[in-house]
Symmetry: C2
Subunit: 383 residues, 2 copies
DNA sequence: AGTTTCTTGACAAACGTGTGCACGGGAATG
DNA sequence: CATTCCCGTGCACACGTTTGTCAAGAAACT
């Protein structure tokens, strides 16, 4: 095993190691430049570069470039305990809400030389736990998680591992971690008030799963808005899908109409559910917005192109990702974070799926409508 | 966590290292189990476990669980030269074609315990090069790239680094790397033949950028199909957007109609461009499919919900990702790959954006139409 | 009983990099 | 000219694993 001189000692190493044919190391560069490799290390590290003479830096860099040297991030990470890696966990990349968030996060972290790894949970708590575990094993410096439920046990796993984590999109309402979300309740209030302004009174909610904050808060916002407007005659109804999917929306809408044939407007928990509602309405030959008005949420891609163009509540998804990244970056650097509980404001986009209701033709009705409208506007403004 | 006895030697280490407060190592487990750490390593490694007695394995596993031990992937990767990491490069995660591909890849690699890192190039060659470089530095065992242009210099960088890479979606037509794509030319042929069957003769192509294989091959397919049908009177026209976006589609459609007011059908390079066309048609008050028929490509999400429901060519995006993953996994394992040049078949989905053309009201016209129709069907079947 | 075979666990050498410390030489100062 | 100081470089250890080698003990065979 004592090799004569400098025959690379790939004798004893395992066959797996052999195949890394030609990756250059810091030692190769040092040999080329005729210096010690610690000098190379310093010369190539911007933070320690000031310890090295300029012409030496130049020599080292020339050799590095000539040899096509690429630093081994794993070795560096092992030594420094900084992997320059962050993890992003979403329920399903195929859900059009998530890609813009992930995209923004990747952008923010690419700017500081970090790499982003992603994982999907499909809303399975066990898969989430497994994912968090794998990511921590992998050495991520931080985690941005879009799948936390309220009081999610996954949070404990993260804080126990002492790894910075920020919740995005969904709010686990945990005192232990920062979160960036959109005001889901407010969004639904905007929707209900908008419908009330248009004269609707029999308003239904086609909600999503209630065990996640988005579904839960949207339903609560819906109820609260209806309560506030109860004196104007607004009466709420609600059905729920088991997931935020088109199919669940379609099915929920069917149940809704079977039990409440007299509703005139639907506030969907998100655009997927709204599209499902739309599909059911079309299948039943019910006109939207002619007979039933519809409001979605999130303003997913193409929502302005569907028929009718969907009135919806826009969610600043990219901003969600950016803000979460800013917080996580601060946590990683150890900088104190100024505001670690960010709630972004949703905005209503009035398009074509909501129509003013055809009120019963009484003489007083229009007066009442106008009064209600004014009342609504005032409340709307105040909140 | 403050250990009374065995103060870990964090004296000489840098402050950065101090903060890894409590991550347990293989040594902690060994100490707990009262054995040498190499025994722990083997006991926890399924492949070497057979070298250790069963009750020892049990003891080690118990200690590992008790201490909450998590293997340090970076150290393992450094030693074994296997990072259990793959990279995926797309142009833009915000483009709805990509998420299903990435999702499928993540699924396939999660199954074998690999982690997936993603990056966006926005179609900038320099950003792609930088990304490939960073990923290789990071130690990815393989790369799946959806952004390769024809004869892309990025390929050379990968093969030079001796790292397995497979192209997906776009085909760089390189002899050096495997690829998985959809038959873009065939897709456009399907579209043109479908339109011809419906009586269209003045058919235009609103294509995407010609420097990427998708845009290029789709245009070629379009031209080829028109040539085949030239004897039936099919005459082609084409304009191109500078990117596969709604805005470019809208703008290109405007130019198209300005110069060719007599066309009756448009084959768009993808659904984004198609939606852009639709938007322009609506703005101009031109009915689709009443006056102009439209075919898209990729069957992106919600294409069945827009108005009119878009006739389009479906691309098996998830299958694209899965097949690419299979190939890459084989390459990583060193297994020979059976077929490294996979071309998936596109399928036409006939919906509402294509209508049979209203032919000039001559007596012979219907005969001609029928004849053409028959003719087209025959050709269609043969290909 | 002695020798061989087999099992089991310990030892130590890497993987490639970062960094505290020591050392050498030249400049500056007395 | 001698001493001090400082700047640039080399040295060696550590980060946490994996794994070839080997010694010690038990079991089996001659």
């Amino acid at each position: 095993m004592a090799m004569p001189k400098k025959t690379k000692n790939t004798k004893k190493t395992s066959p797996a190691l052999q195949e890394r044919s030609s990756r250059k190391t810091i030692i190769d560069v040092a040999k080329c430049a005729g210096v010690h490799w610690s000098t190379v290390s310093r010369g190539l590290n911007p933070e320690k570069r000031h310890l090295i003479s300029p012409e030496m830096i130049e020599r080292v860099e020339a050799c590095a470039k000539k040899l096509g040297y690429r630093a081994n991030a794993m070795a560096s990470a092992l030594r420094t305990q900084r992997s320059r890696t962050v993890g992003v966990i979403v329920s399903n990349l195929g859900d059009p809400v998530h890609p813009p968030i992930v995209r923004a996060i990747e952008d923010r972290f690419a700017e500081i030389g970090y790499v982003t790894i992603v994982g999907n949970t499909d809303n399975h708590p066990l898969r989430q736990a497994a994912l968090i575990d794998r990511f921590i094993q992998q050495g991520v410096e931080g985690l941005i998680v879009a799948t936390f439920e309220r009081n999610d046990p996954g949070i404990a796993a993260c804080v126990e591992a002492n790894i910075p984590v920020v919740a995005v999109f969904r709010d686990p309402e945990s005192e232990f971690i920062p979160s960036v979300r959109v005001d889901d309740a407010k969004a639904m209030e905007l929707a209900v008030h908008h419908l009330a302004e248009c004269g609707h009174r029999q308003i239904a909610h086609v909600g999503g799963p209630q065990n996640v904050s988005t579904g839960y808060h949207r339903y609560r916002g819906f109820r609260r808005a209806c309560k506030v407007l109860a004196q104007d005659g607004v009466t709420p109804t609600a059905v729920f899908g088991e997931a935020f999917t088109v199919e669940e929306g379609e099915f929920a809408c069917e149940r809704l109409l079977a039990e409440n044939p007299n509703i005139t407007a639907i506030v969907a928990g998100n655009d997927m559910l709204a599209v499902g509602c739309l599909r059911h309405l079309r299948n039943r030959g019910i006109s939207c917005p002619g007979s039933i008005s519809l409001v979605g949420m999130n303003d997913m891609l193409f929502m302005d192109a569907i028929a009718p163009a969907l009135t919806t509540i826009s969610t600043p998804t990219a901003e969600l990702g950016t803000q979460a990244s800013h917080i996580l970056i601060a946590m990683i650097k150890g900088t104190p974070v100024q505001n670690d509980r960010i709630v972004l404001k949703p905005v209503l986009l009035a398009r074509d799926s909501v129509a003013a209701i055809k009120l019963p033709t009484k003489t007083r009705s229009s007066d009442f409508s106008d009064a209600a409208k004014r009342e609504v506007r005032i409340r709307h403004r105040e909140s």
